[in-house]
């Protein structure tokens, strides 16, 4: 089936879950990433059970703490 991940069309297997996509896409911070599917946030506790459908648009929103501290150490 075809889905859109971060604006890019991708062919993925039927039955792929959000968790499966996170692993497949090698998301940098898999333990803490916000996922939206069709502009709706998916609860992190349901990543493994949320099955993606043909045409779904998925976005990964990464936490960026920011700052440039540590250079003084």
């Amino acid at each position: 089936m075809k889905i859109i991940v971060a604006g890019v069309k991708k062919e993925v297997a039927e039955g792929l879950t959000v968790q499966g996509l996170i692993e497949q896409e090698q998301v940098e911070t898999p333990e803490y990433v916000t996922v939206s599917v069709n502009e709706e946030f998916i609860e992190s506790g349901t990543f493994a059970s949320h099955v993606l459908k043909d045409g779904d648009e998925v976005e990964f929103l990464y936490f960026m703490g920011g700052g440039a501290y540590g250079i003084y150490e």
């Binding site: 333990e31 803490y32 976005e59 540590g70």
Partner: protein, 167 residues
Amino acid sequence: MAFTNEQLERYSRHIILKEIGVKGQKKLLNAKFLINDACVMEKKPLSHAGIIRFKGQLTTILPGEGPCYRCIFQSPPPKDAVPTCKEAGVIGAMGGVIGSLQAMEAVKYITGAGELLSGYLLTYDALKMEFRKIKLPPRGKGCAVCSDTPTITKLIDYEQAACELKH
């Protein structure tokens, strides 16, 4: 919302970062939530931005109108879940790029010109030279601080909570 002198001293340390290193990193991460919560509670607009390595993000938070920071990230990340700037680094020019965009959002808010990033997360990938504008869900859906039935009604002193954590 009145703060005691002790609270002002403690909260300002989150932002001013007198402590550098691991404690400072924790405080900066937590400061984002503190500032967001304070702005939502006081109904003040907030420009949020973050940068790391070659990536950045930006959104404008208008309490009561669009989603807030906690709508996107419910609580500070667990230890070691995300890289810190000390670990990952950040290119200096990222501050200029994203900082200037924040300034532009402020100018637009003050003048009423154009469209603000309320309801959108702008992301920037410097290596790909790519900006994306990600539409966010509407404000409040289950959000602990900005929904119509918030569960967070007081500022959280994450510093105290962090000191109690055992690593």
